[in-house]
Symmetry: C2
């Protein structure tokens, strides 16, 4: 079974898409074709969206699904005119919250992915720059690092650091364990002062070899033998040094970040 889903929003559409995807993954038998209709913030755009949805409905005979975060009831009504199943993301929560807080919602356009707080936003950009300059052991001045990921080359350190910086403003550095470190089974001395901020990423050797092969086909670096050796040594090194670690083979960046924050007690909320 296939169904078409529209994520419709007066802003970026990120909230609609996030919750929509979460709900849709709970219906595993259905294939969803997903479309974003962001910045639907006036009657003309709402009418264009309604026409598009209605046209598809007429063509396929399958009722489209709309996951909606527009706040203006007039715009919602226009889109509802398409005949789609309307799932209004905010409606169910506003009334219990108004009652609990004794305050009315502002009715403003969803601000959550806009630039609400300039300082917070700057922290996020600065953290991203930090991640970029402290990537792959390039700059090893870790005094301002919130945390430092270690692991062998291609174990997932860089994307994880970038994600934590972009979304949480966490200044995350990363250090790739070198053959020299792995031979000696010791951390480089410049990392030792920051031992309590270290976290290790590991990965299954087959998967690592596959990733490295894509990058440098036919190299010694990509052989299963080399990957096995590096990962075994890295594992020993981390265990000796008492550094917590996570196998990232079947774990997404979001999950890695959540687990690391959990471990370090970082409850910072996302931007």
């Amino acid at each position: 079974m296939r169904r078409t889903v529209y994520f419709i929003s007066d802003s970026t559409g990120i909230t609609a898409e996030t919750i929509g995807n979460s709900i849709l993954t709970q219906f595993e038998g259905v294939q969803f074709d997903k479309h974003r209709l962001p910045f639907t913030d006036d009657a003309r755009k709402a009418e264009a969206a309604a026409l598009r949805i209605k046209t598809l409905y007429a063509k396929t005979g399958e009722r489209p699904i709309v996951v909606n975060t527009m706040t203006d009831p007039a715009l919602c009504e226009i889109v509802a005119g398409s005949g789609a199943l309307m799932l209004d993301v905010f409606a169910p929560f506003i009334s219990p919250l108004e009652k609990e807080l004794g305050a009315k919602r502002s009715g403003a356009v969803n601000l959550s992915h806009g630039m609400v707080d300039f300082e917070k936003y700057e922290a996020r950009i600065n953290a991203t720059n930090f991640a970029l300059t402290h990537d792959d052991g390039m700059d090893m001045d870790y005094a301002h690092a919130d945390l430092i990921l270690i692991g062998v080359s291609r174990s997932g350190k860089t994307p994880t650091c970038l994600y934590m910086a972009l979304h949480y403003g966490v200044s995350a550095a990363n250090y790739p364990l070198t053959d020299d470190d792995l031979d000696r089974l010791e951390l480089p001395s410049r990392l030792l002062p920051y031992k309590d901020r270290l976290y290790g990423l590991t990965i299954e050797p087959q998967r690592l070899a596959q990733i490295r092969e894509q990058r440098r086909a036919g190299s010694r670096y990509a052989t299963l033998k080399q990957c096995n050796w590096e990962l075994q040594q890295a594992d020993k090194l981390m265990r000796h040094a008492g550094i917590p670690s996570l196998n990232t083979t079947h774990v997404s960046i979001e999950e890695i970040a959540s687990k690391i924050f959990d471990r370090f007690g970082i409850e910072r909320t996302m931007f």
Copy 2:
């Protein structure tokens, strides 16, 4: 007025946090203290969460708010025992969807931020690597770029490219306009074959000077005069070449990305 909010989830907590933040920004008069309680996926963890919430309630006398995406009703009940206002994110949408689709929800733990699809995940990592190697004009082989951001140094190109790659698997390169380009008011010849994939980022001169000053205090690079000149020339260059552009001064990375995708008709959904 202050209220404490817990984002509680059997997975990363990202969905709970995203929708929770969206709803809470609609109550502008209230200060919310936010906490994430991810991976609450068994009775022991749910009881620990309930105890923590109950204890805070008893201490402050203010009823805490729980934004919940746990799927197991038994765990929800345990947390509800804390007396908090429970906002269950999925409940309102499941029954209309079950009816519409004629199918029952799977009841599985929220998979939307896990590694559901290996190939898609790889596309995302590859796009991130692409953004990193095609940052700041380092690698200028743009044949595989989905789009290329241009603009003066520090106009927001790098974080935007990384965001688009990490979240949408879009291979975005960026090219910083050089003094030479700005003098000649011409794009470098290597960009010309890809003119229809170019998008310009601009920024207000005062803001740019402030950002550059943080980076290289007292430099000519950071003077308002230099920023003014660069931005005026960049604006002329983009207008002459017919390249669409966006002023990023008051716009978040999420909004920039959404607007660029909208312009290029990229409807790719996020990971």
